[in-house]
Amino acid sequence: MPMKKFINDPGDLTSELLEGFCIAFGDKIALESEKLVVRAKLKDSGKVALVTLGGAGHEPALSGFVGEGALDISVVGDIFAAPGPPKVIEALRMANRDAGVLFIVLNHAGDVMSANMAMEMAEQEGLNVKMLLTHEDIAPGADAPIEDRRGLVGCCPLYKIAGAAAEAGKSLDEVYAIAQRFNDNMATLAVALKTATHPATGEEIFQLADDEMEIGMGQHGEAGTGRSAMMTADETARIMITQLAAAVGARQGDRLMVMINGAGATTMMEMCIVLRGVKKVLDEKGIQIACAPLGEFLTVQEMAGFQMFVAKMDDELLRLWNAPCNTPALTVR
């Protein structure tokens, strides 16, 4: 049985998708050296550059956040697979500048190994790079060791906020400190309803019974903390936002960013209904929603489900979040 996907040779997935990506968003981004998505209009070299790396198959992330006010370079791997160290060090060399480079890495085994090897080389070569690791998944518990906490959709708003800080001319230390403050105050929990097909192998990335859902699912089908019977949107929202608010220690009067990030097949209709459920719970707690980005930012092919993300915001973070940006995945006027 052929896969029900619009693809050609599965071996060409990443190169073809990047080609199409550049046709669609050629006013914002360009492709260099096969796997490096860079800004169409390069940033002033006096400003801090932002580099990230990660697998493909999560579109629009990660490369969808390259552009004015966000990332400078995204190093693209293969489907769900981190790029190897050679491309990563190439990107770090390309981005290197006196103002410095912030290198944002999501906590996934492959990404981290690639990043570590590239950082070793960068240090040997004397490049001016600071690495920041996102690890905001609370599925293994909010106080599980960092190694166990995956980097999920939180990288996306972090790119935007760090990018705005860089665009504002802040130093590498300042940009790093802001990004780290956001990083320290964010949390994500994912939920899955239906599996997706890996576009290279044609296999389902996990199995879930017809009446089951799973909270805590990773973004490549890695299993989460617990399967349960299907719940309503309101029940799901309540369970997830309660854990997330607790994880970031949100208290009455606090202002949260709440992001509902669709995994692929979950409709915007459902995401809106969930967000409404989230607001009811936060209203009870006297916690304010400062902003609520909703849509598909980091997907898992056509998986049904979403990632719910929260971050404790302060005036500076909100200002940076609302600053202009112009990327394929997010434009702010």
Partner: protein, 212 residues
């Protein structure tokens, strides 16, 4: 039989390992579907394609640069954990082989020890953690023992392959402590670790490549 091997034998070892992975990549992805994200077979296919490409296209005809080129090829495959881990293995082999162009059993063991050491720079996983280390560490130990016991290279590689396979099989009973699989915790029990399985295939390939 063979007391030493040279460039041609190493290429034969590598090519046989390439074939071994190619013949089993679907099974490796299946294993990864149970405990990870289902792409390990794809990643290993790309890794061995990179190995074969170095062998086919203008190979340097000297062991150290051969293994170094292979290492960079494997690291460059965009294969998630596979690139850095198996790339590091070859980087270590290249470090370990030094200027030798013929290897006796002891040199072979030393070379693989350097390979293991390089992988261990990337990962703290030990035997029992349900990773490729469960195959790699016993395989390298078997080589060292064989070298100390004055075995032939065929014999040494046969023992290494057996040790790797036993180590891989043993991962079925373990709970994953590293990599993506870690998140599944208890649910990984009952499934062989894909990285361990591919490591066993590599050593079985090395062994068969020499055995011919």
């Amino acid at each position: 039989m063979a007391e030493t091997i040279g460039y041609d034998e190493v290429v034969r070892m590598l090519s046989a390992a390439v074939e071994k992975i190619r013949g089993n990549h679907r099974q490796l992805s299946k294993l990864d579907s149970a405990t990870g994200d289902g792409d390990h077979g794809t990643a290993m296919s790309r890794a061995v394609d990179a190995v074969q490409k170095v062998i086919d296209n203008d190979p340097p005809r000297a062991l150290k640069p051969l293994l170094n080129n292979i290492a960079w090829g494997v690291m460059g495959i965009d294969g998630g954990s596979t690139g850095p881990l198996f790339g590091s293995l070859f980087l270590g082999l290249s470090d370990g082989v030094g200027d030798n162009e013929t290897l006796d059993c002891a040199a072979l063991a030393a070379m693989f020890e350097a390979g293991l050491a390089k992988v261990q720079k990337q990962s703290k996983a030990q035997v029992g953690d349900k990773t490729m280390m469960d195959a790699l560490i016993p395989a390298v130990e078997a080589l060292r023992k064989a070298a100390e016991g004055d075995d032939t290279i065929d014999e040494a590689l046969r023992r290494a392959a057996e040790a790797a396979r036993q180590g891989a099989d043993a991962t079925a009973a373990m709970q994953a402590k590293f990599g993506r699989a870690k998140n599944l915790g208890q649910r990984t029990v009952g499934h062989v670790d894909p990285g361990a399985a591919s490591t066993a295939y590599l050593f079985e390939g090395f062994c068969e490549g020499i055995g011919d």
